[in-house]
């Protein structure tokens, strides 16, 4: 005779057993006794309330947790928010960087400076190389084409756009000198008539 499994017996204790399980338990002393033991355990230990702390405790605990949280760095979407979450973009940048490096080496120019692994930094460094490579070099057009396809909308759709509040947060974390430099760059970009 096959006895009931522990899972079946738990169903029996909780009153949700199938008809077959009920029929077996009615006919089998061992299974009936095991289920009765578990039910007794539930009756003995089941009604054990957690003592209610003082009403002031919850306010105190909440304040204590928030004080501890305040010392923590702000949670981000990921450790490296703009990194490698935008596959088409990262592929294009990787191709662009490799192509720039290959062209520079092939043309026997000065060694390409070491590139940062961050995609944003790679774009900046690739752009920095444009003046050197774009002139009278057809191969550059392939690179330029790849990079130019990365529109703001595409980047946004790929999750590369900065989350709401991130720019303000970044500015808030800047030093006075960095803010002054940012203001100068923005003025240079949009402010000169």
């Amino acid at each position: 005779m096959t006895h009931l499994s522990a899972a079946d017996l738990m169903d029996l204790v909780e009153g949700v057993a199938s008809r077959e399980v009920l029929a077996h338990a009615a006919a089998c002393d061992l299974c009936h006794r095991r289920a009765a033991d578990a039910a007794e355990g539930l009756a003995l230990g089941g009604r054990n309330e957690v003592p209610e702390p003082s009403p002031l405790f919850w306010e105190h605990l909440s304040r204590r947790i928030q004080t501890a949280v305040r010392d923590e760095p702000r949670p981000a979407r990921s450790r490296w928010p703009l990194a490698w979450s935008w596959r088409p973009g990262r592929f294009a940048v990787a191709v662009a960087v490799v192509a720039v490096a290959a062209v520079a080496v092939w043309r026997g120019r000065a060694p390409v400076p070491a590139l940062d692994h961050a995609p944003g930094a790679a774009v900046s460094q690739a752009e920095a190389l444009v003046p050197e490579l774009a002139v009278d070099d057809e191969s550059w057009s392939v690179v330029a084409g790849l990079v130019s396809e990365m529109s703001a909308d595409v980047l946004s759709a790929e999750g590369m756009a900065a989350p709401a509040g991130a720019i303000d947060h970044a500015v808030g974390a800047m030093t006075e000198e960095q803010r002054a430099e940012l203001a100068r760059l923005l003025k240079a970009e949009i402010g000169t008539p």
């Binding site: 309330e49 919850w58 949280v69 000169t192 008539p193």
Partner: protein
């Protein structure tokens, strides 16, 4: 219009924007009264976008359930409060990893169970003194019956503390926290059948411990 006038207006605009960025938490900052009406998923999004108050609302909303879970594991008010703080700190640090597949409450429970099991493993079973309980005095009619109730509660806590880890976690989540077998299975990364089996064995062991005393061997 001179160039100087144009630059001055941009200067003003930039200065105003920067003051806003530095003094305010961000453009999405919501008044606290609004935050308390938001569902958990929106509060998580607010936290990620830099709202300083959103996590406070999460704490206020879930601290009681997390505390009660922790208390079930350790049976001590002070330890439960410390563990509750630990759970929320870990949750805050891990908000970036919260994908929203499960509810925030379930996710907090998962962290809570892990934190409590680690704590319990490090310290062994909690044996709680009768007076280690800052609860409000019982409103029962008779002090002796309140004392009996406290003694009974202590015996149950001690018996639960002696259960094997998985049985203890399963029993606490099912019997005391009233989670479904499916929710427990998700929390503990196991199957519904295993949860039922562990719960059944835990109840059998609980019965033996409470009927025959702490020297009873467990199955």
């Amino acid at each position: 219009m001179t160039d100087g006038a144009g630059v001055a207006s941009i200067d003003d605009a930039l200065a105003g924007w920067m003051v806003h960025a530095v003094t305010d938490a961000g453009p999405n900052r919501q008044p606290r009264a609004v935050l308390t009406d938001l569902p958990d998923a929106s509060l998580v999004a607010e936290c990620r976008s830099g709202s300083p108050d959103a996590f406070g609302v999460i704490v206020e909303r879930h601290q009681r359930a997390v505390y009660q879970l922790c208390y079930r594991f350790v049976g001590s008010h002070e330890d439960a409060a410390d563990l509750t703080q630990d759970v929320f700190l870990r949750a805050y640090r891990g908000l970036a990893r919260f994908r929203g597949d499960a509810s925030l409450a379930t996710w907090l429970y998962r962290i809570g169970v892990n934190v409590c099991l680690n704590k319990v493993s490090a310290r062994g079973p909690a044996l709680v003194a009768l007076d280690d309980n800052p609860a409000i005095p019982s409103k029962g009619p008779d002090p002796s019956s309140a004392l009996l109730q406290d003694e009974r509660a202590r015996r149950v806590r001690d018996a639960v503390a002696r259960l094997p880890r998985t049985q203890r976690a399963t029993l606490i989540l099912r019997v005391y926290q009233d989670l479904s077998h499916k929710e427990i299975a998700e929390l503990l990364d196991t199957t519904v059948g295993a949860v039922k089996a562990n719960c059944f064995h835990a109840l059998g062991n609980l019965k033996r411990l409470l009927s025959n005393g702490p020297k009873e061997s467990l199955r």
